[in-house]
C-alpha cells in the first residue's frame, strides 16, 4: 500500500490526465457499442422507456456544459453577487419545465419540439419556423462546446487545439451516430458521474483547507480555519474593497437588469430543444415530472458548489499574488502564464504584482476559466485531482455537444425530410438520413470549433434569449390556451426571434454602427443577455393580439389540447 501510494505521488499530472481521459473515453465507447439504435424511435427518443433516474442523470449531464463546469465559477468569482443571475437562471427554469412543459409534451408524445409546434399549430409554416429556431439555437450552442473540448485538450495534454477538437468530434460522432438518443442517454449517465466527481473532489479538499468544513456549501459561509474568527465572506468583502472593487456580496449591475437576465435564462432554459427532448424518452407522464425533479437535484449539487468555488478561488488568488514580488510567484502562475490565461505587465516597474480595480494601474489579467482549471494547483492538491478536472470538463462538454447534435439531426431527418420533403420515406431510410445529418452536424460544429467566428462566444449566451423569445411562449400558449391558433403563434415566434436577433446585433455585436453602442443606450437599461425577457413578452402580446382577430383552431386541434392535459395513456400517442 505504501509502495503504491509512493508511485501515485510520482506519476505526473500529464500522465494522470492521459490515464483518466483514456479510461473515461473507453467507457463512453463501450456504452455506445452496447446501446446501438435499431429504429427511429430508439434513435430519436431512446425507445421511450428510459427510467426517471437514468433520464434525470442524462438530463443533468446534457444540461451542464463546458460553460457550467469550467467557466461559471470563474464568472461568479469576478462578478460576486451578480453571478447569481446564472445560478438562479439556469436552475429556476427547471421549475417551469416540470410544472408547465415536460408532462404535457411527454403526453403529446412526439419526437421533437418542431413536431409539437407543427402539429399543435396545424401548419407546416409553423413547423418550419420551429426548425429554423431549433437549428439557430443548437448550432450557436454546439460550436462553443467543441471549442471547449479543444481548449481542455490543449491545456492538459499539450496537443494543438485543433487536434483536440478533432479527437472530440470523432468520439461524439462515434456514439451519437451509432447510438442516437439511446447511446447518448447512457453515455450521459456515465458522464454525469464523471463530471460531478471531478467537480466535487477538489472543492471538498479546498473547503477543508480554508474553513475546516468538508461541505463547501456551508464552508463558504463559515469562519476561516486560521482561528482568527473572521468569516470568509467578510474577509473577501474587505479584500475586494481594499483593491477598489465592489463588495463581493453586493454586486454592481442595476436591479432591472439582474431581474431581466435571470428571467431570460430561466425561460430560455425551459425552451431549449435539447433539454425538452430528454423528457420524450421516459415511459409515462408521471416519470417526466419525476425526472425533472431528479435532474434539478443533480444539477443543484454542482450549482450550489460553484459559488463556493468562486469565493475560495478568489480569496486564494488575491492572497497569493496581490502585492507579492513577481520573482516569487508559485509554479502554477508561470505555467498558466505560458497559456496566456494569466498575464502580468509591471506598469510601475516595482517588481510587485498590483491587482486593483483601476484599469490604468492594474497589472494582472486573469482569465475566468483559471478559477476552476487551476484551482487544484493553487491549493496544492495531489496530481490525480488536478488531472480529474480535465476528465470532468471533457465529460461536461461532450455530453452537451451530443445532446445538441441529436436535436440538429432530428430536426433535419424528421421535421424537414420525413414531415415535409418526403413523407413516404421508409423507417430505414429515415434512420440513414438521421445518421447522415448527425455526421454533417458534427462536421459543421467541428469547423466552428476550429475556426470560431468572433461572434460565437457572444451568441452562446444569447441562445437562451433566442429560445425564450421563440419556443417558450408558443409551447405554453399551445398547452394552456386552447384558442391559440396558428396565425397568432407564428406571428409571435417571428416577432419574438426577430426582435431578439436585432437587439443582439445592434447592442452586442455592434454591426449596425461602427462600434458596439454604450450601456447607456440600452432599452430600459436591459443588457442584450436580459433582452430575452422583453422579446418573450413581445411574443406573448403579439400572439394573443393576432389570435383575437383570426379564427379559432379546428375542433381536432382543440381536442388534442384537451387530451394532452390528461396524464394517462401517454404510451399510445407515440405510435404515429
Amino acid at each position: 500500500m505504501m509502495n503504491s501510494l509512493l508511485i501515485a505521488e510520482q506519476v505526473s499530472v500529464q500522465n494522470w490526465t492521459y490515464i483518466l481521459v483514456g479510461l473515461t473515453f473507453t467507457l463512453y465507447i463501450g456504452i455506445a457499442i452496447w446501446s446501438r439504435a435499431g429504429s427511429t424511435k430508439e434513435f430519436y427518443v431512446a425507445g421511450g422507456g428510459v427510467s426517471p433516474l437514468a433520464n434525470g442523470m442524462a438530463t443533468a449531464a446534457d444540461w451542464m456544459s463546458a460553460a457550467s463546469f469550467i467557466s461559471m465559477a470563474g464568472i461568479i468569482s469576478f462578478a460576486g453577487y451578480d453571478g447569481a443571475v446564472y445560478l438562479m437562471g439556469w436552475t429556476g427554469g427547471y421549475v417551469l419545465l416540470a410544472l408547465l412543459l415536460a408532462p404535457y409534451l411527454r403526453k403529446f408524445g412526439k419526437f421533437t419540439v418542431p413536431d409539437f409546434i407543427g402539429d399543435r399549430y396545424y401548419s407546416n409554416t409553423a413547423r418550419t419556423v420551429g426548425v429554423f429556431c431549433a437549428l439557430l439555437v443548437s448550432f450557436t450552442y454546439v460550436a462553443g462546446q467543441m471549442r471547449g473540448v479543444g481548449l481542455v485538450f490543449s491545456r492538459f495534454l499539450e496537443v494543438d487545439i485543433n487536434t483536440g477538437v478533432i479527437i472530440g468530434m470523432l468520439i461524439v460522432l462515434f456514439y451519437a451516430v451509432l447510438g442516437g438518443m439511446k447511446g447518448i442517454t447512457y453515455t450521459q449517465v456515465a458522464q454525469y458521474c464523471v463530471l460531478i466527481f471531478a467537480f466535487m473532489v477538489p472543492v471538498i479538499f479546498i473547503s477543508i483547507q480554508m474553513t475546516g468544513n468538508p461541505i463547501p456549501q456551508l464552508g463558504f459561509g463559515g469562519e476561516l480555519a486560521d482561528g482568527s474568527g473572521t468569516y470568509l465572506l467578510d474577509k473577501l468583502d474587505g479584500l475586494s474593497t481594499d483593491l477598489g472593487f465592489a463588495e463581493y456580496t453586493e454586486g454592481s449591475k442595476p436591479l432591472i437588469d439582474v431581474f431581466a437576465i435571470t428571467l431570460a435564462l430561466m425561460v430560455g432554459t425551459a425552451g431549449l430543444p435539447h433539454v425538452i427532448v430528454r423528457f420524450f424518452t421516459v415511459k409515462r407522464v408521471k416519470d417526466a415530472r419525476k425526472s425533472a425533479g431528479i435532474a434539478l437535484l443533480l444539477i443543484v449539487i454542482l450549482y450550489t458548489t460553484a459559488p463556493a468555488v468562486s469565493v475560495f478561488a478568489r480569496t486564494n488568488m488575491i492572497e497569493t499574488v496581490s502585492n507579492q514580488p513577481y520573482a516569487n510567484v508559485p509554479e502554477w502562475f508561470k505555467k498558466w502564464e505560458t497559456t496566456k490565461l494569466i498575464t502580468f505587465t509591471d506598469k510601475n516597474n516595482d517588481g510587485l504584482i498590483q491587482y486593483v480595480a483601476d484599469k490604468s494601474k492594474n497589472e494582472l489579467v486573469v482569465d475566468r476559466d483559471i478559477m476552476v482549471l487551476a484551482n487544484p494547483e493553487i491549493a496544492q492538491l495531489p496530481n490525480w485531482v488536478i488531472a480529474l478536472v480535465a476528465a470532468g470538463a471533457l465529460a461536461a462538454a461532450l455530453s452537451t455537444a451530443a445532446g445538441l447534435l441529436l436535436v440538429i439531426s432530428a430536426s433535419v431527418s424528421h421535421d424537414l425530410i420525413k414531415k415535409m420533403i418526403n413523407p413516404k420515406i421508409s423507417e430505414k431510410g429515415e434512420l440513414v438520413a438521421a445518421r447522415l445529418s448527425a455526421v454533417v452536424a458534427v462536421c459543421v460544429a467541428g469547423y466552428f470549433g476550429i475556426n470560431p467566428p468572433g461572434f460565437v462566444a457572444a451568441t452562446v449566451a444569447l441562445a437562451f434569449g433566442l429560445a425564450a423569445a421563440s419556443f417558450f411562449p408558443a409551447i405554453i400558449l399551445g398547452i394552456f390556451y386552447k384558442r391559440m391558433n396558428k396565425e397568432g403563434a407564428i406571428a409571435g415566434m417571428v416577432v419574438g426571434i426577430t426582435a431578439m436577433l436585432l437587439y443582439m446585433i445592434k447592442y452586442k455585436l455592434g454591426w449596425f454602427d461602427e462600434v458596439v453602442p454604450d450601456k447607456s443606450e440600452w432599452w430600459f437599461g436591459i443588457s442584450p443577455e436580459g433582452f430575452g425577457t422583453v422579446a418573450m413578452l413581445l411574443n406573448f402580446i403579439v400572439s394573443i393580439t393576432i389570435m383575437k382577430f383570426t379564427k379559432a383552431p379546428p375542433k381536432e386541434v382543440q381536442d388534442i389540447v384537451e387530451k394532452i392535459r390528461i396524464p394517462s395513456g401517454a404510451g399510445e400517442a407515440v405510435n404515429h
Binding site: I76, Y81, G83, A84, L87, M88, T91, G92, Y94, V95, A98, L99, L100, P103, Q217, L218, F220, G221, G222, E223, Y231, L232, L233, D234, T249, E250, L255, V258, F259, T262, L263, R284, K286, R289, K290, A292, G293, L296, L297, V300, Y303, T304, P307, E562, R565, I566, P567, S568, G569
Partner: protein
C-alpha cells in the same frame, strides 16, 4: 361524473397547484434574491448575508423542493381522478 367534467375538475386543481408553487418560485428567487436583497442583507446567518444567500444558495434548494412537492401532489391528484397508470 362524466368524462368531460372529470377532466375539467382535474385541470382546475392542477392549475391551482401550479399557481401556488410558481408564486413561491417567484418569491424566493426574484423576491428574496433580487428585489428585497438589500433589506434581507441586514440579517446575517453565520457568514452569509441573507439576501446574498437566497440569491446564490437558498433559491436553488427551494426550486428542488418545489418540483418534488409538485410530483407528490400530482401523483395523488392522478389517483383521485382515475388517471393513474
Amino acid at each position: 361524473m362524466t368524462n368531460k367534467s372529470n377532466s375539467k375538475a382535474y385541470w382546475k386543481e392542477n392549475i391551482r397547484y401550479v399557481l401556488i408553487l410558481l408564486f413561491i418560485w417567484f418569491l424566493v428567487s426574484f423576491g428574496a434574491g433580487i428585489i428585497f436583497k438589500d433589506a434581507l442583507n441586514e440579517i446575517k446567518i453565520g457568514g452569509f448575508k441573507l439576501g446574498f444567500w437566497f440569491a446564490q444558495q437558498g433559491s436553488m434548494y427551494v426550486f428542488v423542493i418545489l418540483i418534488f412537492v409538485y410530483v407528490r401532489l400530482m401523483n395523488k391528484l392522478d389517483k383521485k381522478y382515475g388517471y393513474d397508470e
